[in-house]
């Protein structure tokens, strides 16, 4: 690359302006990396389903909670067989690169409602009877090499405990499943311990899960449940688990879409500004290209030099931006419910680099063509005036 010294010198011709451009590009690609990872995770949706289960969720927002004492009143609705509940715990185990979701649940009721989580009877017993007990899915156990009897420390990011330290759980069971729609990348902890030991929020749960005895009356039962809490401070919205998941996935999809749209607009504005700055910088150097052409540089040389310059500049912002996105993503995991499978896949890197190459060409091509078409005799004439 004998032209490299020429290209490098040109890139840092105006150091301050180059650094500003690089910083802008860096931020643009940082956003790109994070957003793209998030929206990919959102678009994957969540995959679990059940026909004879209803989900009672806060009516207006998935991050509200519902009073635990609703449980008794739901239980009284005709057709309701069993009520369990589930809350979002979040937190960090070791590091966040490989997240698994964690849920405080009432052990006995929860495992009754979800018979598809399979674990030996003695482990079920242990989960019910151990205040600090927790069970994990096979995927988590395999990945982190965990065995029954291990202690699992979790650093909280929402639910601080009363000692302001990490939560410690005793692993009392590992569940499997014969069905791959069941997610074994999860951990369930004893709600009672969670509720007592957390600093705030006592007596609230995320959602109720209701098993019904008459699947044909699903719609009526759901209506009856919501009717009980209508006009209270915590109104509910009851749907089948399937519909709930669908709605939830749609909501996340919408959020992902809106985020992507807004931030793409920001991203492209930033890039257009940068592109314009770079194009301007190349235009200012037209007399220099006239010199090179006089000396005998061909049109292809000029094209190649200008394009390399603009592609290199964008890559210099792109690569560090993407790498930083990868470092930052784990910090957000676990804070937002379900924001657990976000990662910088190779696809995000490929998209980022392809975007950088395209932009480098789009930004570099007009001034490159101009420099190429430059008539030496005229350019020198202008220069001499």
């Amino acid at each position: 690359m004998k032209y490299f010294s020429l290209i490098r010198a040109a890139l840092f011709r105006k150091p301050i302006s180059s650094i500003l451009t690089l910083a802008t590009l860096f931020i643009a690609f940082l956003l790109f990396g994070m957003l793209n990872s998030v929206s990919m995770a959102f678009s994957q949706g969540i995959d679990f389903s059940g026909i004879d289960r209803l989900i009672v969720a806060p009516r207006y927002s998935i991050i509200d909670d519902i009073p635990l004492n609703y449980q008794n009143r739901i239980q009284e609705v005709p057709g309701v067989e069993l009520v369990a509940h589930r809350s979002w715990f979040g937190g960090t185990y070791q590091d966040n690169r490989q997240f698994f979701s964690r849920w405080p649940v009432p052990p006995a009721a929860f495992l009754d409602v979800y018979p598809e989580y399979k674990l030996p009877p003695d482990q079920v017993e242990a989960f019910i009877n151990t205040r600090t007990g927790a069970i994990i899915g096979r995927e988590v156990a395999d990945r982190h090499d965990l065995e029954v009897g291990d202690r699992i420390p979790i650093i909280p990011n929402i639910w601080l405990n009363k000692d302001n330290g990490p939560w410690e759980f005793d692993l009392v069971g590992i569940f499997d499943s014969d069905d791959d729609t069941v997610d074994t990348n999860q951990m369930f902890i004893n709600f009672e311990f969670f509720d007592e030991y957390r600093q705030f929020g006592q007596g609230g749960v995320g959602t109720f899960i209701v098993r019904i005895s008459e699947p044909s009356r699903t719609a009526e039962i759901a209506k009856e449940i919501d009717a009980i809490f209508a006009n209270s401070n915590d109104e509910t919205k009851t749907t089948t688990e399937k519909a709930y998941n669908q709605m939830f996935a749609n909501q996340l999809g919408d959020i992902g879409f809106i985020m992507t749209s807004i931030l793409s607009a920001v991203f492209f504005t930033i890039l257009l500004l940068t592109g314009n700055t770079m194009a301007q910088a190349i235009r200012e150097r037209i007399p220099e290209f006239a010199i090179l052409k006089t000396i005998g540089f061909s049109n292809m040389h000029i094209l190649w030099i200008v394009l390399s310059e603009s592609v290199l500049m964008i890559l210099l912002g792109c690569i560090p931006g993407l790498l930083t996105a990868q470092l930052l993503i784990p910090l957000f995991m676990g804070v937002i419910p379900f924001f657990d499978s976000v990662e910088m896949t190779p696809l995000v890197y490929i998209q980022g680099v392809v975007l950088a190459l395209l932009l480098g060409i789009v930004v570099g091509l007009p001034p490159a063509l101009r420099a190429m078409r430059l008539n030496i005799v005229n350019a020198m004439g202008e220069h001499a005036v």
Partner: protein, 229 residues
């Protein structure tokens, strides 16, 4: 001497401005010997730069032929001319035409980027050229750290670095004071006498023209006279 290097026959050049044809050079015949040092003088707009650009292969004649060292350069395409220039002509202009972002040495190396030389060979050659113009101690200076005369020396070093037969200089001293101008002219004389370069120089300064072997006069696009120094 007596060997003809450049032969210009029946050359005319006109520029189009809209529908108008503006004749700039007309009916030009000229032979230039190898190893000659020739000055061109004439009023502004008489076509001196245009003629020099034709000989240097920066532009092509409208009619007529230009043969340099046996090569019919009026028949070459733009791309072929670029390659030909890089091997056969060194250019020096009134405004020094250095790249401000590169050091003197890197500026001098530019023409060598078009060859297959290794980087150490390029560096060696550039330093030698800088030595010839007396600036080896300024190799790592950028153009703005040099005086006008020094910049012009760097431009001359760049013009000779690929060892072309022909040096084409358009008002090389036009922007310099008397003393500095004389130094540059002596340098061109040295390149002509000691290194055998054929030097063509456009100038408005009769004292500059005195350094050449002879002077050709142009007026309104025609050769009007010749004077020996």
């Amino acid at each position: 001497m007596g060997d003809v290097l450049i032969k210009i026959s029946e050359v005319a050049k006109s520029y189009h401005r809209g529908a108008m044809d503006i004749p700039v050079l007309e009916d030009l015949n000229l032979s230039i010997d190898k190893g000659d040092f020739l000055a061109f003088m004439g009023p502004s707009g008489s076509g001196k730069t245009t003629l020099l650009n034709l000989i240097g292969g920066l532009d092509s004649p409208t009619v007529g032929s230009i043969s340099i060292a046996g090569k019919q350069i009026h028949q070459l395409s733009q791309g072929q001319l670029a390659v030909w220039r890089s091997r056969n002509v060194g250019f020096v202009f009134q405004f020094y035409n250095l790249l401000p972002i590169l050091t003197a040495q890197k500026n001098v190396e530019l023409p060598l980027l078009l060859t297959h030389m290794s980087s150490s060979e390029r560096k060696q050659r550039a330093l030698t050229a800088l030595q010839v113009v007396g600036l080896e101690d300024r190799a790592n200076h950028r153009p703005r750290e040099l005086s006008g005369g020094q910049e012009q020396r760097v431009a001359i070093a760049r013009a000779i670095v690929s060892d072309p037969e022909l040096l084409v200089c358009d008002e090389p001293t036009g922007d310099l004071d008397r003393t500095t101008a004389d130094e540059i002219l002596e340098l061109l004389q040295l390149l002509n006498r000691e290194y055998g370069k054929t030097v063509l120089m456009v100038t408005h300064d009769p004292k500059a023209a005195d350094h050449a072997n002879h002077t050709l006069y142009l007026d309104k696009g025609r050769l009007t006279g010749q004077q020996e120094s």
